[in-house]
C-alpha cells in the first residue's frame, strides 16, 4: 500500500509550535507529537474512484444550475449575523413554553404561599389580589356570597392574630372587612328563599363566632376595646351591624343610647342567634 504524498510537511512542527509554549518538560510533548504523526500519512486514493467522484460532483453542479432559476433576493438574515445564531422555531417554542410554565408555576406557588400571610407581610398584597381575582371570576350570587363571608372571616382572623401577637392592626384590614360584609349582604339580597334565609343565618352565626374571637384578642381584661385598637373596634362594629342587617335584634347600646350605667359584660353587643327570633330575618340593604 503506497502512501499519499501530498500531505503538507511541517519540519519539526515549527509552524505549529510557533504558537505553542509548553508547560513543563518537553519530552512529554514530543510523545504527543510522535503519536500524532502516526496519522500524518494517509493511504493513497484509487485514481478511478477519485475521477468518478469528481465527475459526479460536476454533474450534480450542472443539474443544480439547470434546475434552479436565479434568486430574486436574499432572505433577510441580518439579525442572525448580529447574534451569530439562527434560532430554530422549535427551540423558540420550547423555550417560550418552558418560560411560561416556570412563570405559571412560580405564580401559583407564590399565590399559595401568600394564603397564610398577614398584613404588613411581603406576600399579603398577593393574597388580596388572589382574593379579588377569585371574586372577579365568580358570577353566581351564592358563590360570591360564600367567598365574601369567607374573606370576612379571614380578615377577622388576621386582625385577631396581629392583636394577640402585640402588633398594630392596620385600619385598612377593618375597612376591607366592612366592605366584605356589605357586599356579602348585597349578594345575599339577590338570593331567593330558602337560600336567602340560610345566608342570613350564616352571617348571624359567623357574627357570633367572630365577635368572640375579636373579644379574645383584646388586651384589656374587661373586654373593652381600647382606643389603641381602633381597627378591632371597627371590626366589631362591622360584624354587629352585619348581624343586625341579617335580622338580629340590635344591641342595647343601639336602641338605647349608652348611659353611664350601661356597662360591659353579658351578651351585650352580641347578636342573638336566629333560632329564637320572633321575627324572621330582615331583608338586608333596606
Amino acid at each position: 500500500m503506497s502512501l499519499q504524498g501530498d500531505a503538507p510537511e511541517l519540519e519539526d512542527h515549527k509552524a505549529f509550535l510557533e504558537d505553542f509554549s509548553p508547560d513543563g518538560e518537553g519530552e512529554a510533548y514530543q510523545t504527543v507529537f510522535r503519536t500524532l504523526d502516526r496519522l500524518r500519512a494517509v493511504p493513497a486514493r484509487d485514481p478511478q474512484a477519485k475521477a468518478a467522484q469528481r465527475s459526479a460532483f460536476l454533474a450534480q453542479a450542472q443539474s443544480f444550475k439547470e434546475a434552479v432559476s436565479p434568486r430574486r433576493g436574499r432572505r433577510l438574515k441580518g439579525w442572525t449575523e448580529t447574534v451569530h445564531k439562527e434560532r430554530s422555531p422549535m427551540k423558540v417554542l420550547l423555550r417560550t413554553g418552558l418560560a411560561l410554565t416556570v412563570a405559571l408555576v412560580g405564580t401559583v406557588t407564590t399565590a399559595l404561599a401568600s394564603q397564610d400571610s398577614l398584613p404588613q407581610q411581603a406576600l399579603y398584597p398577593v393574597k388580596l389580589i388572589t382574593e379579588d381575582l377569585r371574586l372577579a371570576m365568580t358570577s353566581e350570587p351564592q358563590q360570591e356570597f360564600d367567598l365574601l363571608v369567607g374573606f370576612a372571616g379571614e380578615r377577622t382572623h388576621e386582625m385577631a392574630t396581629l392583636a394577640q401577637g402585640g402588633q398594630d392592626v392596620p385600619l385598612d384590614v377593618a375597612l376591607r372587612l366592612e366592605q366584605h360584609l356589605r357586599l356579602a349582604l348585597q349578594e345575599a339580597s339577590r338570593l331567593q328563599n330558602p337560600e336567602l334565609n340560610l345566608a342570613l343565618e350564616r352571617i348571624l352565626l359567623m357574627a357570633q363566632a367572630e365577635l368572640q374571637i375579636l373579644k379574645g384578642a383584646q388586651p384589656q381584661p374587661d373586654g373593652n376595646f381600647s382606643t389603641g385598637a381602633p381597627a378591632l373596634q371597627m371590626a366589631e362594629q362591622s360584624w354587629t351591624q352585619a348581624a343586625i342587617d341579617a335580622g338580629a335584634p340590635p344591641p342595647p347600646e343601639t336602641c338605647c343610647p349608652a348611659g353611664p350605667g350601661a356597662g360591659p359584660g353579658g351578651n351585650e353587643g352580641q347578636p342573638q342567634p336566629p333560632g329564637g327570633e320572633p321575627h324572621g330575618p330582615a331583608q338586608p340593604g333596606g
Binding site: M1, L3, Q4, D6, A7, P8, L10, H13, A15, F16, D19, F20, S21, P22, D23, A28, Y29, T31, V32, R34, T35, L36, R38, L39, R40, A41, V42, P43, R45, A49, K50, Q53, R54, A56, F57, L58, Q60, A61, Q62, F64, K65, V68, R71, R74, R75, H84
Partner: protein, 187 residues
C-alpha cells in the same frame, strides 16, 4: 489564496463548471486526509469528501455557503459530517483492516498490527478532545492552516485559536502520557 478562493466562490455561485472543478481539485485531497485521520477508513473518507462537496453545492444553490474562507468552510462541514459518522459508529466493534493502513513495512504483518494499534490510539486520543480542540489540531498541525483560517472554520475569534491549541496539546499529553510509559511501541 484568499483572493483565489474569493474568485472561485464568485464563479461557483454561478455554477461555473471550471471553477467548481478547480475547487474540487484543490481541496479534495485535504478533505480525504482529514477524513482518514478522523475516521481511519478510506471508504468512509471518500463518502465524506463526496458529501462535503455536495453540501457546498446545496449551500451555494440556496445563496448561502462561505463568504470568504472556502477551505475553512469545507473543513467545518467535513468535521460535522465526521462527527455524525463517529457518533453512529462509536458502539460498533473496532476491527483492524490492514488493507487500509499506510505502513512503512507493508510486508510484515506484525509491524502492520503494531502500526494499526498506534494509529488507533492516536485517533482515539483525538476523539477524546473537545470538538474545537480536535479541529485546531487537525487543521493547524496536519494541514498547516493559519490562525485566520482556523478561526473561520471554528467560527471563533483568532485569539481563541491559540488558547484552544495550547489546551488541546496539554489534553493530548494527559491522555497519552500514562499509557505511553506502559505500552511504548515506537522504535
Amino acid at each position: 489564496m484568499d483572493d483565489v478562493e474569493r474568485s472561485w466562490l464568485a464563479r461557483a455561485r454561478r455554477f461555473d463548471p471550471r471553477a467548481l472543478g478547480e475547487i474540487y481539485d484543490a481541496f479534495n485531497p485535504a478533505l480525504f486526509r482529514y477524513g482518514c485521520r478522523l475516521l481511519g477508513d478510506t471508504h468512509a473518507s471518500e463518502d465524506l469528501v463526496s458529501e462535503t462537496f455536495y453540501r457546498l453545492l446545496v449551500a451555494l444553490r440556496s445563496g448561502g455557503g462561505p463568504q470568504r474562507y472556502l477551505r475553512a468552510y469545507l473543513f467545518r462541514v467535513a468535521h460535522n459530517l465526521a462527527m455524525d459518522r463517529h457518533r453512529k459508529d462509536r458502539f460498533t466493534a473496532l476491527d483492524l483492516d490492514l488493507s487500509d493502513l499506510q505502513l512503512a513495512a507493508p510486508d510484515d504483518p506484525s509491524l502492520q498490527a503494531e502500526e494499526s494499534l498506534l494509529q488507533s490510539r492516536a485517533r482515539s486520543a483525538l476523539w477524546q478532545l473537545t470538538s474545537d480542540q480536535r479541529q485546531v489540531i487537525l487543521l493547524k498541525y496536519y494541514e498547516g492552516l493559519d490562525n485566520d483560517e482556523v478561526a473561520a472554520a471554528l467560527d471563533k475569534p483568532v485569539g481563541a485559536v491559540k488558547a484552544l491549541q495550547h489546551r488541546a496539546v496539554n489534553a493530548l499529553r494527559r491522555i497519552l502520557s500514562p499509557a505511553e510509559h506502559q505500552t511504548e511501541l515506537t522504535p
